[in-house]
Amino acid sequence: MTRSRGLAAARLVSGLLAASMLVVACSSEDDGGESAGEPITLTYWSWAPNIEKIVDVWNESHPDIQVRVNTSTGGDEIVAKLTAANQAGDLPDLSNTTYQDLPALIIADIAADLTDVMGDREDETAAPAWTMTTFDDVNYAVPQGTSPMFLFYRTDVFAEHGLPVPTTWEQYAQVARDLHAADPSTYLATFPANDAQLFAGLSQQAGSSWWSVDGEGGWSVDIDDDASRQVADFWEGLVAEDVVSTMKTYTPEWQAALADGTLASLIGAVWTPPILANNAPDTVGSWAAVPLPQWDPAEPASGVLGGSATIVTTGTDHPEEAREFALWLNTSDEALNAYIEHASIWPAALSGRELPELQGATALMPEQTDFYQLAAEIDEITVPVTWGPNVPAAFDSFTNHFSAAVTARSGFADALAQVQSDTVADLERAGYEVSE
């Protein structure tokens, strides 16, 4: 046996193990009693940390409808795993999904119609989450949270160099230049080629709508439009001048730069504070958050960076109970309180935003008491976003072409055009009508 054969064998064995566990997990679905007296068991796929503790709250108060959580599937592979489970006829009753994966799940006939429970909740749901889960007036998911975008910056580094907090992108570029000139080891930011979602969010802010369903039926793709090109040109300029770094995010290098202050700001979302606190614990207390810099301060806008929702699958035997649980999980004070205690959430259900814990400051920024208030305000200026059915393909193409462009420090516009054509080609290959 060679090393590679050994690895192949190991992979095979682990694959078989995983498959057998899947069989076990799936067969447990049938535990649900057909007769009235026995409790029903629902399976729920989620990758959220500590989700078991939140589900425990439900299980304690609902002895007749027990929910079993399976956390083995990560957020980035949920479509592949659910598609496979669908083919095998073994769908879980419920699953989490990111907003950008939802269209793929609807088209694969996995996400069930939830208009029954969600249809009348528009006034009680944050607008960005509503638009991303509603297609043709049909609700396909119970939104969990929204993800207003923020600029997080190091107050101590900014103070040391006397830098203003940028409110426009023009100022942002100037701060990047000034900071790097004042301290060549320090960058204001990194332009991460691995984070297509960030670029998509910034493009949405600039007014781009990457996917849309046109009136005649069929998708149109506008990734290579003026607004996105404006964003690409802006960052290409900063990268070419070497006033922003190009390291990928979530690498050891990135962690080190956050921890030692050589990365002085980060564009993130409402879910970023715990991540910063985990990756750079010594910097707790030195951060502040402001809304994104603007292209036109007179018409402030913001994009979408992440967020997830709960779907009920078409494969469930207990649709009513599943819908009830999905609604409870994302809208009840009980569940949202458990989220706040064991994880973090910025709920899409407006009533949840009144909870006392969401009035104060975050652990990362103990002095900033208006963080959640800002989050609610940013939700108001967030543009409506429609994700397409092949977001992973577009993001993959982005990563590859922008990696090359970042290495070359030029050619961002060409890379964007490539992402556009790759995305259209992928849609057509999957059998969609595409109009450009």
Binding site: L7, P252, G431
Partner: protein, 322 residues
Amino acid sequence: MPTTTSRRSSAPRRSAASSAPRRSSASLAPRTAPWLFVAPAVLLATGLIALPLVYTLWLSLRGTQVSGSGLGVRREVFVGLDNYADVLGDSALLAGLGRMLVYALITVPVTMVLALVFALLLDNVTTRLKRFSRIAIFVPYAVPGVIAALMWGFMYLPGVSPFTDAAGALGLPEPSFLGPLSVYFSVANVSVWGAVGFNMIILYTSLRGLPQEIYDAARIDGCSEVQLALRVKVPLIVPGLVMTGLFTIIGALQVFNEPNTLLTLTTSISTDWVPMMQVYRDAFVTNDLFSAAASSMVITGITLVASLGLLRVLQRRAFGEG
């Protein structure tokens, strides 16, 4: 067991001479026994190789079609050879194959030469600390490929690399491990580091299996240790060299773990850097199982032709057949 065998094999002959009905019942045992013996291998080969291959072939001829407008419903349809046309018409697979070849051209010779040199050194009578060295060289093989790649990746990243710090302290220019060209060597280094020990052990075992008398004879004839290694030992372990070489080549054709792990760290590796990564990406990231199946079939074909061709050329020397 020899007695049983001889009795059984003689039984049909005897019965053939006597009567027809007895022959058929008596000959059942020798006919079923071989099948029973090969059954586990046949079952495993069918279940784990043939069936998945047939299923992949089937998938590679399928695709999806969306019916209805906008958010319609996606259904599986038969598309014939369309996926193959897409895969072969797309330059990505070819570019990936090219990068894989560059990687293989670095990895295979370096792994083989290092393994051979270490094996010969360990086999040399005058070498000290043999036991320690053997284990030290072998240990990296025990480190899983992904862990090895993460560990090396950490050392490659400029922001956290100890090499960068060391170069800075010595006033040398910063080494670039993840540049457009150096990335090939960096990826190859991870796999060489892991594979040398294993190949070395195989070659070393072959060397230990050689009779000592040959060495004594060579030394009496005035052969130096270096000459002994190059002119006597190496020719005698050619079968071992061919076998480890073949496995190293197949390993290089299937490279996946190392670049796929480094992918998350650097912009110099794309998600379709080598063919296996492209298959993984299509199947599990962009959810295009059908293209992934077609690419897999193409790669399987290439690997099969390459291995069989190489084996044909080398068979006589490797296994003493022919």
